[in-house]
Symmetry: C2
């Protein structure tokens, strides 16, 4: 039976499993592995995976498509472990929030015959773990993919199909571009939000302040509740872009500070706030074209195509294995004949 | 009939009207006035007010309790206009986001016989206007009140009762303290959020960035959609406190920037994020004691007490008016007698 492996069964890995199971693909087996053993069982009970694997190696054994959904810094050790077990021509993707380092690790560690396609679902909440997993997590969200140079068109298509099946919208983007864009819309807000909460909650008057905090404070600091290892890994693997945006943010903050301080020029301050409000309202009302696949997004055909690909790959690999067995049998027979002839 | 006046029928004024109407106080007339004429009719149709007044002056005529729910900078001109019309011993409150300037204006403009009690419901959304008004807006939210020195205990109690009736929790706080606390938990986040959106949406790559923006970006920049006049008025009337917190924020941002930049000391960066996450989770799970009234919050007794106060005041004022009429009649008769005697 064609097999899909998910390594890392937290919010993202668990939600991918739930979304794919809901798509009810015939004859697809989803094998899962999480470093925390209790999580494997929970994922199976929740219906996110069909079977549990004890190691990353055993999870990818015989898998046509592998999804690595671990924390960013865990992707490298996972690639190291599975590199020698991956079958020829299989496809591997990941879900890490930064892509350049991940692509470099795949290039360094995986055999040339493996199709690596970096991935990043732009979804999630500040909650983490299998308990927060949700089949709807990816609905209508963008899901960036950055294929390695060696990845085949067919492999890219199968990852796009898998993404479409989760309800998300696949969009191909260069890994370096991805990281520079995400620094602005995701990693900078993360640090700004954390800074804001750190400052205010570190104040001596925090008990009084907290009692007066309203919904505005809660949403402005929501990202401060993100997993610290996610925030850390992002900062580490996207440092240059993040520093660039932090510096630009600091400049813009000084501009606003200047306008607030300038009692003689209140019109300009009003204009600055009005410009921002207008821009954000426009963004909310008519968001810029969200990326979509170049090919049709029909989930039924995506499922069919993905399964055809996976079954095809499965059959090819089975044939190769049979061929190997037959070759071996023949060479054994040859050996025996030779020995018998001596 | 005892009368309550609401001047300014936007999100806050409209929601106060809706919440008080829902409390179904017997014989309370709510008169409303908004500078935009169409809003008055809409407010009446929505059931936020019983009757429309053409001017602030006519709204407060005969009103025992007046709520000024205009934009901050409109509070002063409204006080100027109503000062001479307010009856003796009546109570006036407001809903502005900053309190020190408002208290100073009241001190300067209102007659000594008027009880002024500054107020600030810590509620609201980034939406504005009567169309967004909601009877539930204040449920379980803190509502700060800063009474002027001259305000009577009874007047303070009646404002607390009105607040309790809207579902909010009144808490007495010094005006200067209020402004310094709110600078941290409300006005700083407003400027930070606006700065973030301004920077990113001003980027040349904005179309690409916007397409990749996720829910984190949306919540971190939610406050950037606030009314620009609100943001402007807050910055103007709370400038010193806001600048103070902007400077502290900038320092904390530099600390985080330093940790991100310091490749040799990744543990400290992780610790910083972990500390923030832990603190925010604690804040969400067990928020510091939200302020509550010293007196019982039973809304039934709050309504009864407020009405007793308002009816009492109404009767006292009617008696005074009758007394004046009788005095006048007597002095007229005296005049006539004198004239007749000549």
């Amino acid at each position: 039976m064609p097999r899909l492996a998910i390594i890392g069964l937290g919010l993202i890995g668990g939600s991918i499993g739930l979304a794919l199971k809901r798509a009810q693909l015939p004859d697809l087996e989803i094998v899962g592995h999480d470093a925390e053993w209790g999580v494997n069982r929970k994922a199976r009970k929740l219906g996110a995976i069909d079977s549990e694997a004890r190691t990353p190696e055993s999870a990818v054994e015989g898998a046509t498509l592998t999804v690595i959904a671990t924390p960013i810094l865990q992707v490298r050790p996972v690639l190291e472990r599975i590199a020698s077990v991956l079958g020829e021509g299989v496809t591997v993707t990941d879900t890490a929030s930064t892509k350049r380092d991940v692509l470099a690790w795949a290039e360094e560690l995986l055999p040339d015959t493996v199709n690596f396609i970096g991935g990043h679902p732009i979804a999630g909440t500040e909650q983490a773990g299998i308990d927060a997993a949700d089949a709807d997590l990816f609905q209508r969200r963008p899901w960036a993919i950055s294929p390695s140079i060696r990845a085949s068109e067919q492999a890219i298509q199968s990852v796009e199909d898998m993404i479409t099946l989760t309800g998300a919208r696949p969009t191909i983007i260069d890994a370096a571009e991805h990281d520079s864009y995400l620094a602005a819309v995701s990693h900078l807000p993360l640090v700004v939000s954390s800074t804001l909460f750190s400052l205010v909650s570190g104040s001596q008057a925090w008990p009084e302040l907290a009692a007066l905090a309203g919904p505005g404070f809660e949403s402005a600091t929501r990202l401060a509740s993100s997993s610290p290892s996610l925030s850390h890994d992002i900062s580490l693997t996207n440092r240059e872009n993040l520093l660039h945006w932090l510096d630009r943010f600091d400049e813009e903050l000084r501009r606003f500070r200047g306008l607030v301080a300038d009692a003689g020029n209140q019109e300009e301050l009003f204009e600055a706030f009005a410009t921002v409000q207008t821009a954000r309202d426009a963004f909310l009302e008519a968001p810029p074209e969200k990326p979509g696949p170049d090919r049709p997004t029909d989930t039924a055909s995506a499922g069919e195509r993905m399964m055809t690909f996976m079954v095809g790959d499965y059959v090819v690999r089975r044939t190769k294995e049979l061929q190997k067995l037959m070759d071996k049998r023949e060479s054994d027979a040859e050996q025996r004949r030779k020995r018998g002839g001596r």
